[in-house]
């Protein structure tokens, strides 16, 4: 794939946090790409580095974070890591926008929805009436009835599902090249979740924007994404095209994650599968593969040195010696 087809190209990104106990190596050598008009899903459990990754892309990291030398976050040809503060302001909310997890807290409770939406357009030198019209149009696009009138309303006057629709509308106001959605449906009921996912599919056709969709729900990733990235303890352990990944998962962690999902278990049963052990301490990393201590298929090379990403097929790779050795 040529460079021009990529919206986001993250190369060898490593991020650490300085803490009292030592350096927490939260992300290590992460490579991900988001092609134009594609939805890329990031899946992984708590503490796997999903949030650190998206915060790095937006440069919203905490002050004690260190982006290690050699890291590169290329967004449409510009390296986000080298950007000045004014360039970053230009980037955030305009060229990359974000939908957060909890729509109840993402909106300002004391400012009307219309004002919050037109505020996003502060860069545009157009009359207020025009801005409000755009905001109303956008609300209508995300399925909010009677949009013009509801601009006057405050967030508490909307239900949870409607609030998330508003957040999505706000994220799309500036027609961004990349939309990052961080667990956008976790706070919602399953019926509303299905509605939001449906909406995101529709909007993707309409707005032609690329999307980075972060979730721990495998069902949603399968439903929505074109490509999938599986993260574990700060590393990308497997990535590939969505069908490849779900049907021919190569990394033991991905396989176990899929097996654990109660929605995937066809027969009702009393004892559910789990992944034994816990995530390793990210200050004192094991010398070999990061998943080795919990891996049921661990063998000699796993403890010696960390695995590289090995190709499973054209668009599918996994950091696992089993793939290298064809076992």
């Amino acid at each position: 794939m040529s460079q021009n087809d990529l919206v986001l190209d993250v190369r060898d990104l490593s991020v650490s946090f300085r803490t009292g106990r030592g350096k927490v190596r939260a992300l290590r050598h992460v490579d991900i790409t988001v092609p134009k008009n594609k939805i890329v899903g990031i899946v992984g459990e708590s503490g796997c580095g999903k949030s650190t990754l998206i915060n790095s892309v937006l440069r919203l990291l905490a002050p004690n974070a260190i982006i290690e030398p050699g890291s590169q976050v290329d967004f449409l040809g510009d390296d986000v890591i080298k950007m000045s503060n004014s360039q970053l302001t230009d980037l955030r909310g305009q060229r990359i926008s974000m939908v957060f997890q909890d729509p109840m807290t993402a909106l300002n409770p004391v400012i009307s929805v219309g004002t919050q939406m037109t505020d996003i357009l502060y860069r545009l030198k157009i009359p207020m009436a025009e801005k409000r019209k755009r905001a109303a149009d956008m609300l209508a696009q995300v399925g909010i009835p009677d949009a013009q009138r509801r601009l006057e309303d405050f967030p508490h006057q909307f239900s949870g599902g409607m609030r998330q629709r508003i957040c999505i509308a706000m994220a799309l106001m500036m027609n961004p090249a990349l939309l990052i959605a961080d667990e956008p449906t976790t706070a919602l009921d399953v019926t509303l979740e299905a509605q939001i996912i449906h909406l995101m599919k529709e909007l993707r056709e309409k707005f032609e924007c690329s999307m980075l969709f972060v979730s721990h729900n495998l069902g949603l990733i399968a439903e929505l994404c074109d490509e999938v990235i599986v993260m574990y303890a700060g590393e990308v352990v497997e990535q590939g095209e969505v069908h490849d990944l779900f049907h021919r998962a190569a990394h033991p962690y991905t396989r176990m994650l899929l097996e654990c999902d109660p929605a995937r278990i066809a027969e009702a049963r009393q004892e559910l599968p789990t992944i034994t052990g816990s995530v390793p301490d990210m200050i004192d990393l094991p010398p070999g593969c990061i998943f080795a201590p919990r891996c049921p298929r661990r063998y000699e090379p796993c403890d010696a040195s960390p695995p590289e990403p090995y190709a499973v097929s054209d668009q599918h790779s996994a950091r696992c010696f089993l793939v290298r050795d064809g076992r």
Partner: protein, 376 residues
């Protein structure tokens, strides 16, 4: 019945929405909302009963009413032969030794200023039970839920979600209750940890003979853990039966919609259609007739006017729908997939009932039978 440890009958919980003065001034005739509306079910000894519904369906209120945290206005709650409705605070306290509650959000339900040891032994102090050796009890409880003794002095912020949940389980078990009401026991946990907690609950149920009332909106989870299931909508049960029966032969369109809304982790099974549109209406403005008619893809004229009866559609399987799904003899012969027909109803947010009514009527009963080809 002798083998039921908990029997709830026609339970009604109302909340006041306006004070006496405000109600008089604004001429509000009925300043109440019904959060739980005439609900009946029974929990067998050693059984697990799942309570499923969207936010605002009243499932948490029902759980809290049973343990006496909110007062029920009508009906009966019978625990092991004794009636709980009408008990005073003091009398209720002794009941709570036998019925424990695990609250939503494992971390937030623990006091941030108490160590794990203090949290799990607090029930003994509250109930003024002279326990000779609290440390011993704490060790026993931690052992029971599979937590290392080293957690004894830890504070909630030092725990992961799964560990905090285990502490919640330990605390609920402290007084050796017979019934545990678990409100969203797996919400906010990773899938691998979800399994651990459910396995733990299962093991404890076998070892200690516990009965569970599990309140959740996670259908894939209840399927594996509960024996019986009730689906709640706007404070009422709309369907009730054995878990197996409900998953295999859902009778109510709402149940079917909930089942269809769960995404399958398989990219080949993507859904193009949306099964359930809109959101749960406000309790202040209950719809006329069948209260689900505003969202039902199969709405007919009758549904707008007449409230359906809650009737037995098969032995032990109850539903309130004028047109419950028939029992499909060939349900097993068809594979999963998108549900044909559902979602074909044009969605016009805020549109008057007529449009959707027309669309629903056009689909007719024959279409409804076909739906089953797609349900799981």
């Amino acid at each position: 019945m002798a083998d039921n440890i908990l029997t709830v009958k026609d339970l009604r919980v109302r909340f006041r929405t306006a004070g006496l003065v405000k109600a008089l001034v604004n001429r509000i005739e009925d300043p109440f909302i019904d959060a739980v509306m005439k609900v009946s079910f029974s929990l067998g000894r050693g059984e697990t009963f799942g309570l499923v519904g969207e936010s605002g369906s009243g499932k948490t209120t029902l759980g809290r009413a049973i343990i006496g945290l909110v007062r029920a206005q009508e009906g009966s709650i019978n625990y092991d032969g004794s009636e709980l409705i009408g008990l005073g605070d003091k009398q209720y306290r002794s009941i709570r030794r036998n019925i424990a509650m695990m609250f939503q959000d494992p971390v937030a339900s623990l006091s941030p200023r108490k160590t794990v040891r203090a949290s799990i032994t607090e029930p003994f102090r509250i109930h003024k039970m002279g326990v000779a050796n609290l440390g011993e009890e704490a060790r026993r409880l931690l052992d029971l839920v599979g937590l290392h003794q080293g957690f004894m002095g830890a504070y909630p912020h030092q725990l992961s979600g799964g560990q905090a949940r285990r502490v919640g389980v330990a605390r609920a078990l402290a007084l050796e209750p017979k019934v545990i009401i678990a409100d969203e026991p797996t919400a906010g946990l990773d899938v691998s940890v979800q399994g651990e907690i459910l396995n733990l609950m299962n093991r404890l149920q076998r070892e200690l003979g516990l009965s569970y009332l599990i309140i959740t909106h996670n259908l894939p989870v209840v399927r594996h853990v509960s024996d019986k299931l009730a689906i709640m909508y706007l404070g009422r049960f709309v369907e009730q039966g054995t878990t197996k029966e409900i998953f295999e032969r859902p009778a109510h369109p709402y149940t079917l919609g909930l089942l269809a809304a769960v995404p399958e982790p398989d990219p080949d099974k993507r859904r193009d259609k949306l099964e359930l549109q809109g959101e749960i209406p406000s309790l202040m403005r209950r719809p006329s007739g069948c209260e689900f008619h505003t969202r039902c893809p199969f709405v007919q004229k009758k549904c707008l006017e007449v409230a359906p009866k809650y009737e037995e559609v098969a032995p032990g399987h109850w539903a309130s729908c004028h047109f419950p799904f028939p029992d499909p003899a060939d349900a097993k012969a068809v594979g999963p997939g998108a549900m044909p027909g559902m979602g074909n109803v044009p969605y016009a947010p805020g549109a008057a009932g007529e449009e959707r009514l027309a669309a629903g009527a056009a689909m007719g009963d024959s279409m409804k039978k076909d739906i089953f080809r797609g349900s799981r």
